[in-house]
């Protein structure tokens, strides 16, 4: 996951470096002239030199308002620094935007990242000694962390602290892997010393009961299920009651996959949320999802507020941008990644190490 983006981030770094250096070497002789002129007289520089000094370092028609002021540039020159300008960044930023889109980062989110980087870099004065690469890396790291690392919390800690039974409800569209994730988490919790009961709130899809029953049997976990067509809120509620009566630590409530455009089903989800009042609601989506990940994450968050997200199928050579998008629009952390079809194929998601990994630190 994220391999493509990693390569692209690397090239963004060297792009900026190159174009900044090109601008630098271009700028140098002119700046010398300009500085010389400025030194020789305050305002009476001969027209030719002034025009030259103004024009050459940047585009002739570049408006002074949105590039670093001449004064700032002169100051930077005097102190042996160079100012990064918007046009140095234009091409690299465009390439970076394409890289983010290629990695399935949603367009609005990609633009937010770019804006962050632009505002961090433009007008930044850098000492001629310090490499542009470092500057860019810092800006990239800040921008990415800002986006991915939102309200991260320690899932294990949260479970440990919470009053038992802890009720966790899983939501998401069809076929993203909610039931498989529940089975994996049951194993995960068991390995940490917690007992779990599964409650099958998917009373709709053909084969849903059979699917989760097989998991429950394989994991030797208790399952609460009703007839197909029953009230999903009631099933999960029964799961909670069972857990209370039998001292079970965690209730894992499944729900039927639904598209966020179905207002009836989203209303049903609201009802489950209201009736059950889960301690945690986890939104499950697949890491291979594209631009739409943002839309549905938002809609599910609105119907039944989520506390975090799980991204599945991260082993399918996904680009991983969905992780970035979902975290950004919901402001809720990605907690786990599903990485295969085995019960142990689930990993904690750690934004810091992801960003480090992306930037090759």
């Amino acid at each position: 996951m994220f391999d493509g983006l990693k390569d692209k981030l690397d090239s963004f770094r060297s792009d900026v470096e190159e174009s900044a250096e090109a601008a630098e070497s271009e700028a140098d002789p002119d700046d010398d002239a300009a500085a010389a002129t400025e030194a020789s007289s305050d305002d009476g520089a001969d027209p030719e030199t002034t025009a030259d000094a103004d024009g050459t370092p940047s585009d002739p028609d570049d408006a002074d308002t949105d590039s670093p002021g001449r004064l700032q540039r002169a100051k930077a020159f005097a102190t042996g620094k160079v100012v990064l300008e918007e046009e140095d960044l234009e091409d690299p930023l465009w390439n970076l935007e394409m890289a983010l889109l290629e990695s399935d980062v949603e367009m609005g989110v990609a633009e937010a990242i770019l804006a962050e980087i632009r505002s961090n870099l433009v007008g930044e004065t850098k000492s001629q000694m310090a490499s542009t690469g470092d500057l860019v890396e810092d800006a990239l790291r800040d921008a990415l962390l800002e986006v991915i690392s939102v309200g991260q919390f320690d899932f294990d800690e949260r479970i440990a602290q919470a009053e038992k039974p802890v009720t966790i409800v899983f939501t998401g569209v069809n076929g993203v892997g909610k039931t498989t994730t529940i089975a994996k988490l049951a194993r995960y919790l068991e390995a940490r010393g917690y007992s779990a009961v599964l409650a099958n709130g998917d009373t709709y899809r053909a084969g849903a009961n059979e699917q989760i029953r097989e998991h429950a049997e394989a994991l030797d976990t208790r399952l609460i299920a009703h007839e197909q067509g029953g009230d999903p809120a009631a099933v999960v509620y029964d799961g909670v009651e069972y857990a209370e009566a039998n001292d079970v630590d965690v209730v894992l409530g499944d729900t039927a996959g639904r598209l966020h455009t179905s207002s009836d089903l989203m209303a049903q989800l609201e009802k489950i949320d209201r009736v059950v009042g889960p301690d945690l609601t986890l939104f499950v989506d697949e890491a291979v999802a594209g631009q739409d990940a943002v839309e549905r994450a938002q809609q599910f968050d609105e119907a039944a507020e989520i506390d975090g997200a799980v991204l599945t199928k991260a082993d399918a050579d996904s680009q991983g941008g969905a992780a970035i998008s979902v975290a950004y629009v919901t402001g809720k952390p990605v907690l786990f990644l599903g990485t295969g079809q085995g019960y142990d194929d689930i990993e904690r998601f750690d934004p810091e190490s992801l960003v480090d990994d992306l930037l090759g630190a």
């Binding site: 899809r205 849903a208 059979e210 699917q211 989760i212 966020h260 999802a289 399918a316 050579d317």
Partner: protein, 464 residues
């Protein structure tokens, strides 16, 4: 689906070209940027987007517009030609005995699509059978069996076997009587080498006439890699796009079509076995052009009217034509409209309504309208039969009672009555009008003369 937004953003950009007879590079660049944005937002592969936009840019700058063509129409034409070129025809599916193999990622909707396709073939008079070879995922056998049951088609599977190749072989023998064999497989992704080897084996045993790749409309840039891997291993002849009833644009499918050099076969648009459509490039493109899609619309209207009529015997749309339009009729029409699907989808199919006109409405116009219709529906549920048949009998006292009963404010009841009066007036105007007058009616509706808001639209039902 994909390109819906392209349609509107293109029209927006192109309107800035209005009146120009020549395009300069800046104009073209701006249009091309807009196209890129829309395609990328629809999840079309980045390099495919760049190829497309490059050739649009080159053609727009180099080709001379034919005499009398405005710059705007010229660009429009190029864009559509390039898109048509990419989308191509729908996957050819002769109505004859055949074997179809389905492949795709976990959770993309293969099992549901298998049942839907079987249902589709059975409606075409063929005898289909679904063969389930997914021995891995818990519950897969039961799901497929239940779905086949809902589609009322033959089913073969073996819950006790763990050899998909064997099941496929035995399944084909056991269902030898069937005309169309649809072989469902376990979900897998391109990097699972052992599973890819397995599907190659199934492929060689089944020897399908067609292998279809089932793709979730929401799939992102990964579509390219997945499609090319599946194409390499079993050869992909067509793509089925699922979950198109969401907001995902399905651009990944375009990527897959391009990557596998195939075409789109079916569209999945819901959870029941009937929610399947053959992909029709003509309708799709004319909708894109803002020309509407009358064929789809009339199909939807017919289906909706049938569904609405089924439940209620004593309601006869014919009465409306004879001059009595009651609140009951209005309620029926609203129900029929609901049965047709989301309003904005329906609007898009109406010539002159979709595209340009839709762009001018505020984004939430359709939601507001739908909310209003819901309020009206609730209010009408609190009315007596007599009131529904004869709305004029509703005076202030009754308005108060209805408002209390339905839990809506009195203002909404008055709006409802006003709306009814407007629709009644509109319908009176249309009475006795021949088919040739349809266009005039359309024009009237377009000018917003049809009774304000959705009043005119409400009247569309029986005429569609």
């Amino acid at each position: 689906m994909v390109l819906d937004d392209l349609g509107s953003s293109l029209r927006g950009t192109l309107s800035t070209l209005q009146g120009k007879s020549r395009l300069d590079e800046d104009d073209v660049e701006e249009v091309v940027k807009e196209i890129q944005r829309s395609l990328l937002q629809a999840d079309v592969d980045v390099s495919l987007v760049m190829d497309l936009s490059d050739s649009i840019e080159t053609r727009a700058l180099e080709e001379e517009p034919p005499g009398g063509t405005s710059a705007r129409d010229h660009v429009l034409k190029i864009v559509y030609e390039e898109l048509v070129d990419l989308i191509g025809e729908s996957t050819e599916l002769p109505l004859e005995p055949q074997t179809i193999l389905l492949a795709g990622l976990q959770g993309s909707g293969k099992t549901t699509s298998a049942a839907k396709m079987a249902w589709w073939f059975s409606k075409k008079g063929l005898r289909p059978a679904v063969i389930q070879t997914d021995t891995f995922r818990p519950g897969a056998y039961d799901q497929a069996e239940q779905m086949a049951d809902r589609a009322e088609v033959e089913f073969y599977g073996d819950p006790d076997s763990d050899d998909p190749v064997e099941i496929a072989r035995e399944g084909l023998e056991a269902t030898a009587d069937a005309d169309v064999h649809i072989v469902d497989t376990a979900g897998r992704h391109a990097l699972e080498d052992d599973l890819i080897a397995e599907i190659e084996e199934i492929d060689s045993v089944v020897d399908p006439d067609r292998s279809l790749l089932v793709l979730d409309a929401a799939i992102g840039q990964g579509a390219k890699e997945q499609a090319s891997q599946f194409d390499d291993s079993i050869g992909i002849d067509g793509v089925v796009i699922t979950k198109l009833d969401g907001t995902a644009k399905g651009g990944g499918a375009l990527t897959a079509v391009n990557e596998t050099d195939s075409s789109i076969a079916f569209l999945g648009t819901g959870e029941t076995v009937q929610d399947i459509e053959r992909f029709e490039p003509d309708g799709f493109i004319s909708r894109l052009l803002g020309m509407g899609d009358l064929k789809q619309l009339s199909e939807r209207v017919e289906r909706a009217m049938a569904e609405t009529g089924e439940e209620d015997d004593d309601w006869d749309p014919q009465d409306i034509m004879e001059g009595s339009f009651t609140l009951k009729d209005m309620q029926k029409q609203m129900e029929a409209m609901n049965n047709m699907g989301p309003l904005d989808q329906v609007m898009d199919m109406i010539p002159g309504m979709g595209g340009g006109l839709m762009d001018q409405l505020p984004d939430d116009a359709m939601d507001v309208t739908q909310d209003r219709m819901r309020t009206f529906d609730v209010a009408m549920d609190s009315m007596t039969d007599e009131e529904l048949e004869n709305p004029r009998s509703i005076g202030q006292e009754r308005v108060e009672r209805i408002a209390r009963g339905a839990g809506v404010d009195e203002e909404s009841i008055r709006e409802l009555l006003e709306q009814h009066r407007m629709m009644e007036r509109t319908i009176k105007q249309f009475q006795g009008m021949g088919d040739g007058d349809m266009q005039r009616m359309m024009k009237k509706l377009q000018q917003g003369d049809g009774g304000g808001g959705m009043g005119g639209m409400g009247g569309m039902g029986p005429f569609g």
